[in-house]
Symmetry: C2
């Protein structure tokens, strides 16, 4: 890590003042961070594209130059994770390899290629009374991101906020606290050296859950809270927050195979959506199959699922076709985000019934139809009210930087 001036550092309550034992004064500490962030946001809002891009490049370079530092701190988190018995999958998510560090740096550089939203004029007209009216995109101000996931989120979110002219207050999960702290310090210093105001990027180092309540009620200083994590955490943030919350719930995604589908394509999509990465929110949980093509389609997909160790829960129709290995689907299976190699499969008599099923059970994250009939596709695309609706594509394509 290059020698740098010390940028603003957010400390945990125990490092500041003399708080009463057992009564950490979160609100006051967080308030200080927020005031710093607010001040930084005012300067960021009028900063040039050039200076923000210079900061992103500096952050990328600093990460590349600090690889061993980052891995050293990351090792501490991994050690703790092993001792506390985290699963191998979770430890893998936590681990920062040289390749993953380079990918974080590349992610920051990729952001520089995106158009700058700050100052974009989205409407410009002259009113009948002669007044010229412009609608101009401006940054939100201070964005706070509360996350549980991998340490690369620290860099990813900081970069996106800087790119869009916002100050950011990060609050990561305790499993990655050492990694996150190292990453945050590196990018903070780099951003500051590149000319961004102190307070542009902050990481809350206390991992006490109680402080989240204080954080999400700082509506005079924080402009948006984005919780990234499990359903329970997202719900808790929404319940407590007075700051506006940009949230998603769970990801219960559906693929519907229409009677006019190309069955080869349908099989590939249903297989990819379920198995490519089953633990994430854009993976398929429920497969709906039109009854007219069920006899041709179901045996093939079940074979492929079984070869990939996917456990299947089917309705009576699916069980009839698929044989004894199919578990009977319970009503609750249609509302379950399995997040593993389990698929619920149902045969439907019509497009209408598929739409009703999706309206009732989908979490409105990503849903897909496979069909070669354009009218059917257009109806599905119009009527399904989800963040992303796909035609002849896997729900897995709903992702950040694709």
């Amino acid at each position: 890590m290059p020698k740098t001036r010390k940028a603003h550092k957010t400390t945990s309550p125990s490092q500041k003042g003399t708080p009463k034992p057992g009564v950490p004064d979160f609100a006051k500490d967080i308030m200080n961070d927020c005031v710093q962030a607010k001040r930084a946001s005012q300067q960021l809002a009028v900063s040039s594209t050039e200076i923000r891009h210079r900061a992103l490049e500096a952050m990328a370079k600093a990460l590349e130059n600090s690889q061993s530092d980052i891995q050293f701190k990351n090792e501490i988190d991994i050690e703790v994770a092993r001792k506390t018995g985290l699963t191998d999958a979770l430890i893998d998510r936590l681990t920062l390899t040289p390749q993953r560090i380079r990918a974080m740096a590349q992610g920051l550089r990729d952001m520089m290629a995106l158009p700058d939203p700050v100052g974009e004029i989205i409407e410009d007209r002259t009113q009948p009374n002669g007044m010229r009216l412009q609608k101009v995109r401006v940054p939100l101000g201070v964005v706070s991101i509360i996350y549980e996931s991998r340490p690369n989120v620290t860099v990813d979110c900081a970069g996106l906020c800087i790119k869009s002219g916002n100050a950011v207050i990060l609050r990561g999960g305790k499993e990655a606290i050492n990694s996150n702290t190292a990453l945050a310090h590196i990018i903070q210093n780099a951003a500051y050296e590149a000319g961004l105001p102190p307070g542009s990027i902050q990481l809350i180092q206390s991992t006490d859950r109680a402080l989240i309540r204080d954080l999400v009620r700082m509506d005079k200083l924080i402009d948006l809270v984005i919780p990234r994590g499990g359903e329970e955490m997202v719900k808790a943030v929404r319940d407590m927050a007075t700051v506006p919350v940009l949230s998603h719930g769970k990801g219960l995604c559906t693929v519907y195979i229409d009677k006019d589908a190309d069955l080869g394509m349908a099989e590939n999509i249903a297989f990819n959506a379920k198995t490519q990465r089953p633990g994430v929110c854009n993976a398929m949980e429920t497969l709906l199959v039109h009854q007219d093509i069920a006899p041709q389609f179901i045996p093939g997909i079940i074979k492929r699922y079984e070869d990939a160790h996917v456990q299947i829960r089917g309705d009576a129709h699916v069980q009839n076709i698929g044989g004894d290995n199919i578990l009977p689907a319970q009503e609750k299976d249609w509302d379950t985000e399995f997040l593993k190699l389990t698929a619920a499969i149902r045969v439907v008599p019509s497009l209408e019934e598929a739409l009703v099923h999706i309206a009732k059970h989908s979490s409105r994250h990503s849903d897909s139809i496979v069909t070669n009939n354009p009218d059917t596709a257009n109806r599905f695309l119009a009527e399904v009210d989800s963040a992303a609706v796909f035609h002849n594509a896997s729900t897995r394509l709903h992702d950040g930087s694709v």
Copy 2:
């Protein structure tokens, strides 16, 4: 009012079932309304522009045809208002004249001239992998509007929601309950007759404040809450809500007269912004004057304010120039939304000081600069972080349908 089929009618708790005395089961009643609205919103989301415009025209016509009906019910509200001692100004806001009823109808027709946002494709590109990606504007779903103000808000909000393909749940103030109920029934029936689904427009008839808490926590059924009213009500909604809230706070607007201003224009703008309608959120509360032109500018504007019975609270500089009638401004005056013929006036040494004052005291609603220097204007427009920022124009121009 034409004979019509009965559209969905939201009733107050006392009219439904046999609730325990003193324990109104708001949540259940509101839940029913919300379920109806959600169902309607699914149909509205895929409805054609034509059918929504047909409904707006039918609503407009029905209002024109029901003038005496509306005035009859409005008289009841006015009677109650007189008995409970509402001010003349408030009674005036409440009163529906034939002219105002025609204006409501015209407002609905004006909405038909606006472009239809539903289905607008705001991005359309093909990814390197061949996938075609479209971003399409879709309705929010169910919008709930909680308001205190004039009965025309009932028609205005219902119209805007229908125009944009949303179902609406209205909850107006108790002073206008009879007028709002009459208006809602007329437009509900007209919309239903024109082919919109039942439940598209609903008015909650209970005026019990306790139900608002239940309403704003229906996050599975309501997609957005918009509180329109005083600061206290808006804050209460934000505190209680789990549904996303689109809110504004108070309107503490500033006009800054720069040293390079056209002083004649400056006087007209400062006078208009303060006096044209002092009781509303886009009226000016604070006037900042650059010290270089203060001696020429202040006597003239003070004369005009005094002729219009505006009480002035000035800093020492303003008092020196303006004479004995100027009250001394207290620190709290810079943070006070007077909403009446009172203006706080301060002399500032520079544009920078004006920007600092606005960042500290403005409510970020509307702020204006008067200057002929384009660099100064551009800096003000870029740095002031308010919903609307004006150059050589009155803050009063920040309004709905201008």
